[in-house]
Structures are given as structure tokens and as C-alpha cells.
């Protein structure tokens, strides 16, 4: 189960819409072991493609260095599909390398008409665990604010 606050959820959706028809990608970092997605970090899709995404290698390094310094980990790794459903592709499964992360897939395929205009359909937002090639979908619970930290 992924519990995520409304502002972060909306931020991911807005990022996906903004980058459509290219795939958008990023992480939500949180304290190590907390399972709390607290800090949305939009990343540039270095592939700049409607069918592929990849964090730029230098950006990736800076991101992990920063998370390391803050004792954070990527609680959520998200990207968008812009023409297909919000389900991990074979490539997504093969390259998934954060067994502790929630892999969020959003789909913007129904959000735009043929001319690229907005048709107000909702963005599909789903979450998965991807471990050793096994995909398990999980429930997404959107809350106004994450509960207070338990420590």
C-alpha cells in the first residue's frame, strides 16, 4: 500500500501532463526506512521520448548523493506512460532496481485529444512493487497530509 499526500500526488500528475507526449519521471524521497514519500524531486527525462525514460547520469548521481546526505531513500520512483495504460512495461520490469520503492505509473493517454488539447479526463495513477521481475500492484491511498512521524 502506498500512502501519499494530496500535494505530492497532484505534483506528479501535473508533471506528467506538462511533459506529455514525452514520458515524465522523478522520485519522491523520504527518510530511510520510513516509507514516507515526503520530498518530490522532478527529474529530467534525458531520453526525451514518448516511449522511454532515463534519468541523466549526472543528475542521478547528484540525486543519490543528496539523498545520502539527508539519510533519505527513493520511497517512490515514478514515470508516465503517454499512450498506454499505467502498468509497468517489460522494460520497466527489467530495469527496476529499487526493491524497496513504490513504482508509480501514471498514464496521460486519456488526458489529451488528437490535437493535443486537454479533454479533462483523469490521469490514471497506480502503484506497484517490482522485485526480481515480479510485479505486485498495491492500493494507493491519498491523504490530505501524511500522519505525524511516529518517532
Amino acid at each position: 500500500m502506498l500512502t501519499i499526500d494530496r500535494a505530492t500526488y497532484d505534483g506528479i500528475v501535473a508533471h506528467a501532463k506538462r511533459d506529455h507526449p514525452d514520458e515524465a519521471c522523478g522520485v519522491v524521497a523520504g527518510p530511510e526506512g520510513s516509507d514516507r514519500p515526503e520530498r518530490l524531486v522532478e527529474m529530467v527525462n534525458a531520453a526525451g521520448s514518448p516511449t522511454f525514460y532515463e534519468f541523466d547520469s549526472t543528475d542521478l548521481f547528484q540525486l543519490y548523493k543528496e539523498m545520502d546526505q539527508r539519510d533519505e531513500e527513493p520511497v517512490v520512483v515514478y514515470h508516465s506512460h503517454t499512450a498506454t495504460e499505467a502498468y509497468p512495461s517489460r522494460t520497466d520490469i527489467g530495469l527496476a532496481s529499487e526493491p524497496n520503492a513504490h513504482y508509480v505509473l501514471v498514464s496521460t493517454r486519456d488526458c489529451f485529444n488528437e490535437d493535443g488539447g486537454n479533454n479533462d479526463a483523469p490521469v490514471e495513477f497506480r502503484s506497484y512493487r517490482i522485485v526480481d521481475g515480479e510485479v505486485t500492484e498495491e492500493e494507493v491511498i491519498v491523504v490530505d497530509e501524511l500522519p505525524a512521524r511516529s518517532n
Binding site: 519521471c25 522520485v27 527529474m43 531520453a47 516511449t51 522511454f52 525514460y53 532515463e54 534519468f55 547520469s57 549526472t58 542521478l60 548521481f61 543519490y64 548523493k65 531513500e73 520512483v77 514515470h79 509497468p88 512495461s89 517489460r90 522494460t91 520497466d92 530495469l95 527496476a96 532496481s97 529499487e98 526493491p99 524497496n100
Partner: protein, 90 residues
């Protein structure tokens, strides 16, 4: 000579859960061979057909090794090597 190698979560099963291990080598290639001695199996996760795997990034002192010679990148005592799998998909 000692070089600190930071290991990503996905490869820590080769290092007994350690986030960082120490290894030796005058080049990245030699360093990976040395890692393999103490952590058998790890080399195959980094190298494919004699080159770095496409979706594995290795950094020496903050620099992507692809820009500084790849497997031939030179290393010296005190360098820090970071391994990070690409975050990518389709």
C-alpha cells in the same frame, strides 16, 4: 592501496548487506576483478561482453566513468567509486 566502492541496494546481496566495501585496482577494470574475488558474482552484474552494462552507472570521484575512459579509467589510493543502476524504463 584502498578505494571505497559504494554499493547500491540491489547489489548488496553480494556484499553481505554492506553499503560500501574496500577494493584495490589501478583501473576500474582491475578494481572490478578485485571486487569479484571477495564478492563473487558481482562482476557479471556490472560487465557484459567486456564492457560496462548499459544500465549501470559507475562514478569515480563524482565523474561518470564513461567520460573518463570507462573500464580503463585510472584509479588511485583514496578515490571513491560509486555504483548506481540507471533509473530508466519504457
Amino acid at each position: 592501496m584502498a578505494i571505497e566502492v559504494r554499493i547500491p541496494t540491489i547489489l548488496r546481496n553480494y556484499t553481505g548487506g554492506e553499503k560500501a566495501v574496500s577494493a584495490d585496482g589501478a583501473s576500474l577494470s582491475a578494481l572490478i576483478d578485485d571486487l569479484e574475488v571477495n564478492h563473487p558474482g558481482i562482476k557479471d552484474r556490472l560487465i557484459e561482453n567486456g564492457d560496462l552494462r548499459r544500465f549501470v552507472n559507475v562514478y569515480v570521484n563524482d565523474e561518470d566513468v564513461r567520460f573518463i575512459g570507462g573500464l580503463e579509467a585510472e584509479l588511485s589510493d583514496g578515490d571513491q567509486v560509486v555504483v548506481l543502476p540507471a533509473v530508466a524504463g519504457g
